[in-house]
């Protein structure tokens, strides 16, 4: 015999409603596929080359040292040497005096920084503007916080005759953007340099966004994890440095991307105390501390970079130089086989149009799955080459807007990029024979 109350409880799902609609995740599926089938993995965004020597040395020093207290808790909001050097660096970059204790908070990767922002500022009924294509976690994080994501697309403008497509050709329509702001808009998420396109927002574009933020009193969550990966001598402009923006912006950074150590999961937020205080509240009630040793090693890495800032030996100068070469190499490689690359201005991602290869993967009318998903999965299984479908970076409603693009990661050893090229060349020959 079960009481009515008990029956009612048992018929309700065990999980909380905040998980509704956020259980699917592209990485779970594609990481598994890549692990099973891929011979060359240009899918998930992580380097397959080693971390720089000075970071590995810092780690060795830390682990070999006498101080075993580095294996114990450190300051919850950020290991003192790390927040100190971050405050120095960002103070320099933004032209401001930053307090390491109140203007900086360390997180478990930029991912957790994003989570803290949404939990701290997005309530039920709040709207958050997300620019498409976007790093896929923004949407479920907004939903988990009870907010409503409002999407605005970057639209591909045809490049000038004869020129290859560039990430700069993907632009916001100012009127369309303005129409997305209303009194329910709590925040806009900006990602520059942008994953997956590699777009580096220009000063004009940032001013457009900034004006709307100020006009509508909206917060800006600025995901700048690829801040050092900017090519062709282009300048990265930080929206927080624009008029009226410091007070309403949280900047997010990542040691994983900065020092090629994605597996260390060290990220940070930089911003005004009156915003960071709320991030601290979320942080102290969710993970509380981040791993001490990882923070100590990253702090030492930054200390070295601060000393070498602007010099040719600086990793912030070396890494983009190296990656630009790899970018150009992959661009050539894709062009040669008939996949049309969109040349990225930044990040280590490149999106290419695979229309010419569609005959290998016939369209299935009325399929639930976007075409590029099917293409990417087929390519992993049949060609052993892993990439990510562009529609993974679009909201459900807009997944079929751009169905012929896939994203490659080029933060890879020469041997990997050559192997990818071999696969593509072989594939092209097979098509032409």
């Amino acid at each position: 015999f079960l009481s009515l109350f008990l029956q009612a409880k048992m018929s309700r799902p065990v999980q909380a409603r905040r998980l509704e609609g956020i259980d699917k995740n592209i990485w779970v599926e594609f990481v598994k596929l890549a692990a099973t089938y891929s011979k060359v993995n240009l899918g998930q965004g992580f380097p397959d080359f080693p971390a720089p020597d000075f970071v590995r040395e810092a780690l060795s020093r830390v682990l070999g040292g006498e101080n075993h207290m580095l294996h114990q808790y450190t300051r919850a909001f950020g290991h003192p040497p790390l927040v100190k050097v971050l405050a120095q660096l960002y103070g320099k970059l933004l032209g401001r005096d930053l307090d390491p204790l109140t203007n900086v908070m360390v997180t478990v990767g930029a991912y957790q920084a994003l989570f803290c922002c949404f939990q701290a500022f997005v309530d039920e009924g709040d709207e958050v503007i997300i620019i498409e294509p976007f790093f896929d976690c923004y949407e479920p994080m907004v939903k988990m916080a009870g907010g409503t994501p409002v999407f605005v697309p970057l639209r591909l403008k045809a490049p000038k005759d004869g020129k290859m497509m560039s990430s700069a050709d993907w632009q916001l329509d100012p009127a369309e953007l303005a129409s997305k702001f209303n009194e329910r808009t709590k925040a806009i998420v900006l990602n520059s340099p942008n994953n997956p396109l590699g777009k580096v927002f220009s000063r004009g574009e940032l001013e457009l966004i900034a004006d709307l933020c100020v006009k509508h009193d909206v917060l800006c969550i600025s995901d700048e994890v690829y801040e050092w990966l900017v090519y062709d001598g282009k300048e990265l402009i930080r929206i927080a440095s624009l008029q009226g923006m410091w007070d309403r912006t949280v900047i997010i950074g990542s040691a994983g991307k900065t020092f090629s150590i994605t597996g260390w999961k060290v990220g940070w937020t930089v911003g005004p105390d009156r915003l960071l205080q709320h991030l601290r509240t979320v942080h102290q009630n969710s993970v509380y501390h981040c791993a001490t040793i990882a923070q100590e090693a990253v702090a030492q890495g930054f200390q070295r970079e601060l000393m070498l800032y602007g010099k040719p030996e600086s990793y912030f100068v070396q890494l983009p130089k190296e990656l630009q070469q790899k970018r150009d190499w992959l661009v050539q490689s894709l062009e040669a086989v008939g996949m049309k690359p969109i040349i990225p201005e930044g990040t280590y991602f490149l999106v290419a149009d695979i229309s010419q290869f569609k005959s290998d993967v016939p369209d299935v009318p009325n399929s639930d799955e976007p075409y590029d998903y099917r293409f990417a999965k087929w390519m992993i299984k049949n060609k052993g080459l892993a990439a990510i479908p562009l529609s993974a970076f679009y909201s459900e409603a807009h997944k079929s807007n751009y169905s012929n693009f896939i994203r490659f990661c080029f933060a890879k050893e020469e041997a990997t990029l050559k192997a990818a090229n071999d696969i593509l060349q072989k594939w092209k020959k097979e098509k032409n024979s």
Binding site: M69, A76, A291
Partner: protein
């Protein structure tokens, strides 16, 4: 700023417009907070900003103070644990992302260790989630399974994060205190018990979960099989989940046995059991923990995890996996770290107890964990000049830090609002400290009355 133009003169038409605007926003603000009101915190974190640790770790950061407050070891982790980390960090691939729900070699090692302990098959991919410390497991579990309208039973005193985490999930904490059965004359953590009738009364149709912590922080109680059965019976009767925080599972002293509530009949399917590398291997700074349970519960924790931080650091997980394999292979051997650490801590426990008694204090001897609570009211220290508004134990600890250069944590930090009075005469000492730290504490305690 469009809002600033509406100043607060509150006359005529402006009053109406202003009131309507304010009503529609339902937010109070002051004239000076024009911009700030839109950027204030969300409702879910309202009132959750203060935290005992932020307050006391700052106070005790002075190196001249003997710190027996925050629960962190100042003993070294075993050397093989540190060596495994150095080995892992030297492998390029291990400096990049690993599997989100837990590094394969680690979840495999955990499944083996816990299969042996629980006597049941545990699937490493579906029954385990690796998190950022046990703290992260608590958060993932509560966010996954608890929401507005739910009640969660919390046993007092409790590890302080349970309450704010339950509130952040929109649910209502329902407290029940451990009560000393010997009329306040407690010599052992075993004297602190739940009243079964009082406990039963706390369960109702809204009770989504009960949080159990055994061995218990701060008292050190190790729940007996009978006590666990009382809780289990109620969970089954009311279809309630059990969140079992067992981070101190290996730190159980002579004569006591740690029993996992998940192994009681009818409990596996409704229990999430939480463990901690920090407490197991004395590496609190690694911040690795895990949740183990049935797939139908763990899968929801995994969804939270993939939407909060996605993956935990790789080299730390690999090193932990190797350490676990090493100790798994010697689980029949007394030299296994799980048992040797416990023996080491038992002698520290006994030493700490002696020192406290010598100073005229009455420690409650813990059966497990590395904390010891002490009734300080017997000292009759005059604290009238310390900040009035705080509970007695907060004032006592601050006074002790200042005048005795010894730190501890006030017990009322671990209580709900109703029970603060009951526990404010206790403070908590941590004894997972090296000999020189305990020596320094000894000096202070021996000289306590000579000032």
């Amino acid at each position: 700023m469009f809002f600033a133009s509406r100043n607060f003169c509150c006359h005529g038409i402006r009053t109406y417009q202003l009131r309507t605007y304010l009503l529609s926003r339902s937010i109070k603000h002051s004239a000076s907070a024009t911009m700030a009101f839109r950027h204030k915190n969300t409702r879910r974190i309202e009132g959750l900003d203060s935290n005992v640790w932020v307050e006391f770790t700052k106070v005790a950061a002075d190196p001249s103070i003997v710190n027996l407050g925050q629960g962190l070891p100042d003993i070294s982790p075993p050397s093989y644990v540190k060596e495994e980390l150095a080995k892992a960090a030297a492998v390029d691939r291990l400096n990049q992302y690993t599997r989100g729900f837990g590094h394969p070699s680690l979840v495999k090692a955990l499944s083996q260790v816990y299969e042996r302990v629980c006597g049941r098959k545990i699937d490493p991919l579906t029954d385990i989630l690796v998190t950022v410390g046990a703290y992260g497991s608590l958060f993932s579990t509560i966010q996954a399974l608890i929401e507005g309208g739910d009640e969660v039973i919390i046993i007092e005193p409790f590890y302080d994060c349970y309450e704010p985490m339950v509130k952040m999930a929109g649910a209502k904490p329902v407290f029940i205190p451990l009560r000393c059965k010997n009329d306040g004359n407690s010599a052992s953590s075993a004297d602190w018990v739940l009243d079964p009738a009082e406990l039963a009364n706390k369960f109702n149709s809204k009770t989504k979960a009960i949080i159990l912590n055994t061995p218990h922080n701060p008292i050190g109680k190790v729940f007996t099989r009978e006590e666990l059965q009382v809780i289990a019976d109620l969970c089954i009767k009311h279809d309630t989940l059990c969140i079992s925080d067992e981070v101190y599972e290996w730190l159980v002293y002579k004569g006591k046995k740690h029993i996992k509530i998940a192994t009681l009949p009818g409990m596996w399917e409704r229990t999430v059991t939480i463990g901690s590398a920090g407490k197991t291997y004395s590496v609190t700074g690694w911040k690795l923990g895990w949740s183990i349970g049935p797939e139908n519960l763990i899968k929801h924790l995994q969804v939270v995890h993939q939407n909060t931080l996605y993956t935990c650091p790789t080299p730390l997980q690999e090193a932990l996996a190797q350490a676990f394999w090493r100790d798994y292979k010697r689980m029949d051997d007394p030299d296994c770290y799980f048992y040797s650490l416990s023996r080491e801590l038992e002698s520290k426990r006994d030493r700490m107890a002696e020192l406290l008694k010598e100073a005229g204090l009455k420690p409650v001897i813990p059966d497990g964990g590395y904390f010891m609570i002490v009734d300080v009211s017997t000292l009759n220290v005059d604290l009238f000049d310390v900040d009035e508004k705080q509970p007695y134990d907060y004032k006592f600890v601050k006074w002790m830090i200042k005048s005795k250069k010894l730190s501890a944590i006030p017990l009322s930090a671990f209580c709900g609002p109703e029970t603060k009075k009951q526990f404010e005469k206790y403070i908590r000492f941590c004894f997972i400290k090296k000999d020189s730290t305990l020596d320094a504490a000894e000096v202070i305690l021996k000289n306590w009355n000579k000032q």
